[in-house]
């Protein structure tokens, strides 16, 4: 099955995000912290008069917080709420064939939760990311 994917870098690794999940790609502005919320919740930011919840993808994946100056984000909509998923950098958009996760592939905790498949770009396998699974306290989409 051929799909359109956005290739991005998160925590130093290349990942593929199905574009169908993406609302927009932006540089977010100032973030207002949400005290007492989970660490993966960096805070709230305003984007075109909407309040958007910013997810520190590094914390959500359990690979350490992203730098404070990370502003590039992929906006996604989960259950009617907008989330900004911080990424290190973005590459390009292209069509790929989604393949199932190979058997026996042992991903560590965070990655395992969000990985839904693999694509192959120039012989390099990239994990397909389920953005909704990065949102804390939400069940992983089946």
């Amino acid at each position: 099955m051929t799909e359109l994917f956005l290739i991005a870098h998160i925590a130093g690794r290349g990942v593929a995000i199905p574009t169908a999940d993406i609302d927009s790609v932006v540089d977010i502005g100032e973030t207002v912290a949400v005290p007492r919320a989970e660490a993966a919740l960096r805070g709230l930011t305003a984007l075109r008069s909407r309040v958007i919840t910013v997810i520190d993808t590094g914390v959500a994946l359990g690979v350490g917080a992203m730098p404070d100056d990370a502003t590039r984000a992929v906006i996604t909509r989960v259950d009617g709420h907008f989330y900004a998923i911080l990424v290190d950098s973005l590459e390009d958009v292209a069509t790929f064939d989604r393949q199932p996760l190979s058997a026996g592939l042992a991903l560590d905790g965070g990655w395992q939760r969000v990985g839904t498949g693999i694509i192959e770009r120039d012989g390099e396998p990239l994990l397909v990311l389920d953005l909704a699974a990065l949102v804390p306290a939400l069940p992983v989409a089946a």
Binding site: P35, R36, A37, L44, A46, R48, V51, T53, H81, V135
Partner: protein, 769 residues
């Protein structure tokens, strides 16, 4: 009512348009269940609205169609061409009547019996009704339009963008040197944007009153129809709600209330037998709680007979006996929401045949709300509808803590006090911190600690009232008040339990709305009565000092008069002062004003005159010289006898006589006939005379301090426990600001609003006797 009718017309017209396709499809295939349901819902809604709007013709037609369709739904009748035609004829007829209502035209109703008769099972297929006269040209020009809420949403979000852009522009202009003309333009833009924003906001918001106001009439009519007496109490009409939500709540509310009257409240005989008051009681209330609006409909009727509902469910094949046996009581009660179940055996015109509650629940769930039952068999049923606050505008107080800002719903904040004042003390008891605010001990929660933010020592306390209790919330500062559009925050944010929602104020920085209950829970507060007990001793009473004008009188004495009574001090020519009509009068501004002289008029060209007013009448008081404005001490020694002197106060270590303005006015001013007469049970300090009397007279009462034989006071005002000379209702005044215990009905003497309300209320109560 006109608005409602308009709405009904527009809504019915709209549904009819949407339905026309369904009707054709049903005609083609009468066994098509979803189509049948759609048509059924339509006639059911029309029936409900008609009862509500008092449109008996439409009610009759829709009830007839509903009966037939219900029979089809339950499988008692099979739809044939005659039946389909009959129903369609009625739907068409409903459309015609609605158009006629809108155009204000009358429509001949002779064929309606035929239409209804055609629905009977044994009806002979009647000849197709003659060509219908088209009434569409009678459509009246409408002053209202119906808008898609999506459009309003887009308008709203565009508006917010506009505000943000304006703010950005203002910020940039502030940074550069700005041309005054540019500034003026920006100012105009700001005003326009603000007005626009108000308007746009209002397009979505409506007071729940719009939903509640037709209810009393409906209750009355419905109760009369079933021969019951029902008293209705409505609370919280000023809660604001999203317009869309309001519209969607209308039908469920009507259904629930009709059900309550028809099924819930028993007949007068049954109520008497059950030891209840003959008149049933229905309470309708709305309030905001956290991020939800709660609408509560409670009756004191028989409640739901759960076993009977369960038996019905088995009978209707909705549940098996085994399933019922394993269900909890609550689950069994909730069976009333199952489609096709009614606890009532006979369907009446009032409430339907079990379609009500399932429609009600699905309507409410459509709004993202839920519905809750509190069933007390024999005692009544309470139904609570919870709907989200989405897009509700709420008035908030913005507090700052640890460099961040949060909003607090204003209605939960009782009061804001600064810690610096005398009225507030903070103590540590064990490991708990207690704030004592004017004698009231409250648990203190430092918002900074709860949120894990760096915080200074609390500079300001917000007294937050939650359903569980009242606590003091320590914040760094109270910054502002703002009306905000609050939206639910994302689930991970809500999961903290501390927030009721998020908002985007004009600053463009998102802000969180705190949930007082959640904050209290996070601080593990327990509201024990001990903590909240009122501290009786050590109360510091702060009475605002009363300013008074200090002057030297004509007789050389130093005197003072409450400043509130002095309209102005004027120097007038002594030529204008004449003895006329038996007393000294001052001719000024074309009128004669009675003039009080403490001594003979000095031989001078001109003289200073205090022009005193009680808000209505005016008198002059000639003085030698005005000296200063001073604060009157609270302790005033009563004077002996002299009518014009209320007492003696010490001002700047010097005794000063306080003018009894009451006596002055009492001598000069004709009582206003017809106004209620208030007996001021004078406390010997002149306070009532000089302070209370002007306030009461300004409010249109007449006042006396002692009763003449021909006077009949309507009400008496007395201080604390002073005895009252007349057998009339008494309003007690107290010197302390805080009430002394729960049974204290007295009014703090400087609380003008409460005082006036008490006087008016007592007079009203007397009139009712």
């Amino acid at each position: 009512m006109d608005d409602l009718l308009q709405e009904f017309v527009a809504e019915t017209r709209e549904t009819l348009e949407a339905l026309s396709g369904e009707i054709v499809a049903w005609e083609a295939d009468p066994a098509d269940r979803p189509r049948l349901d759609a048509i059924f819902r339509f006639v059911h809604t029309v029936k409900g609205s008609c009862g509500f709007l008092d449109l008996p013709r439409l009610a009759r037609l829709s009830h007839a169609a509903e009966d037939v369709l219900a029979a089809v739904r339950s499988g008692n009748r099979t739809p044939n061409t005659a039946l389909v035609n009959g129903v369609l004829a009625i739907v068409d007829r409903i459309g015609e009547i609605v158009e006629a209502i809108d155009a204000g035209a009358s429509l001949d109703d002779t064929t309606e019996d035929l239409l209804i008769a055609a629905l009977a099972e044994d009806a002979v297929p009647a000849a197709a009704p003659g060509p219908q006269v088209s009434v569409s040209q009678q459509r009246a020009a409408s002053r209202t339009i119906r808008l898609n809420v999506d459009l309003l949403d887009r308008m709203m979000s565009g508006m917010s963008d506009m505000v943000l852009a304006r703010n950005e522009l203002a910020r940039r202009l502030r940074d550069s040197s700005i041309d005054p003309r540019t500034e003026a333009s920006l100012e105009r833009l700001s005003i326009t944007v603000a007005e626009m924003r108000d308007t746009v906001t209002r397009t979505r918001m409506q007071k729940i009153e719009a939903l509640f106001s037709p209810i009393p009439r409906m209750v009355r009519d419905t109760a009369a129809e079933v021969g019951k007496t029902v008293t209705l109490a409505i609370e919280g009409s000023d809660v604001e709600l999203d317009r869309e939500m309001l519209e969607l709540l209308r039908d469920p509310l009507v259904h629930i209330i009709r059900n309550a009257i028809d099924h819930g409240i028993e007949s007068a005989d049954a109520r008497r037998a059950a030891g209840k008051r003959e008149a049933g009681r229905l309470t309708l209330s709305a309030r905001q709680s956290g991020n939800q609006i709660l609408i509560e409909i409670a009756d004191d009727g028989r409640g739901i007979d759960v076993d009977r509902v369960a038996a019905k469910a088995v009978q209707a094949g909705l549940r098996s006996e085994r399933e019922i046996a394993s269900m909890t009581l609550a689950a069994k009660t909730d069976l009333i929401f199952e489609p096709g179940l009614s606890s009532r055996d006979v369907a009446t015109n009032i409430s339907g045949r079990g379609v009500g509650m399932d429609v009600v629940r699905s309507n409410i769930e459509q709004l993202g709300g839920r519905i809750q039952l509190v069933n007390t068999p024999g005692q009544g049923l309470g139904i609570t509808i919870h709907v989200p606050l989405t897009l509700s505008i709420i008035s908030t107080i913005i507090v700052g803590v640890g460099g961040q800002q949060f909003a607090l719903p204003r209605q939960t904040v009782e009061e804001i006090v600064t810690v610096r004042g005398d009225a507030v003390r903070i103590d540590t008891i064990g490991d708990a911190t207690i704030a004592t605010v004017r004698g009231k001990r409250l648990p203190l929660v430092m918002l900074g600690h709860v949120l894990g933010l760096e915080t200074r020592v609390a500079g300001t306390l917000a007294i937050v009232s939650t359903r569980e209790g009242v606590f003091a919330l320590g914040v760094d500062a109270v910054l502002d008040t703002e009306e905000l559009v609050v939206k639910p925050a994302a689930p991970p944010v809500m999961a903290t339990g501390l927030y009721a929602g998020q908002t985007l104020p004009d600053s463009g920085r998102p802000m969180l709305l705190l949930d007082g209950t959640g904050v209290a829970a996070a601080a593990s507060l327990s509201f024990s009565r001990k903590v909240a007990a009122t501290e009786q001793e050590g109360t510091v009473m702060v009475v605002p000092p009363t300013p008074a004008l200090l002057f030297d009188d004509l007789d050389g004495r130093r005197r003072a008069i409450p400043l509130a009574m002095v309209d102005r001090v004027e120097t007038v020519s002594t030529d204008l002062i004449r003895m006329s009509g038996g007393r000294m009068r001052l001719a000024i501004g074309g009128t004669l004003v009675p003039l009080h002289l403490a001594a003979d008029l000095p031989q001078r060209r001109d003289i200073a005159v205090l022009r005193l007013t009680d808000g209505d009448a005016e008198i002059g008081y000639a003085i030698a010289e005005a000296l200063d404005i001073v604060a009157l001490p609270r302790e005033i020694a009563p004077a002996d006898g002299d009518g014009a002197i209320a007492g003696v106060a010490i001002i700047d270590d010097e005794p000063v006589e306080l003018i009894d303005a009451f006596a002055l006015f009492g001598d000069e001013v004709m009582p206003r006939i017809g106004a209620p007469l208030c007996l001021l049970q004078a406390d010997g300090q002149g306070w009532m005379d000089s302070f209370l009397r002007p306030a009461l007279e300004a409010a249109g009462y007449r006042c006396v301090t002692s009763i003449q034989p021909d006077q009949q006071p309507a009400i008496a005002l007395a201080m604390d426990d002073d005895p009252v000379d007349a057998p009339v209702p008494v309003v007690r005044l107290r010197r302390q600001r805080a009430a002394q215990g729960a049974n204290d009905t007295s009014v703090y003497r400087y609380d003008r609003a409460a005082l006036m309300a008490a006087v008016a209320g007592t007079l009203a109560g007397r009139a009712a006797l």
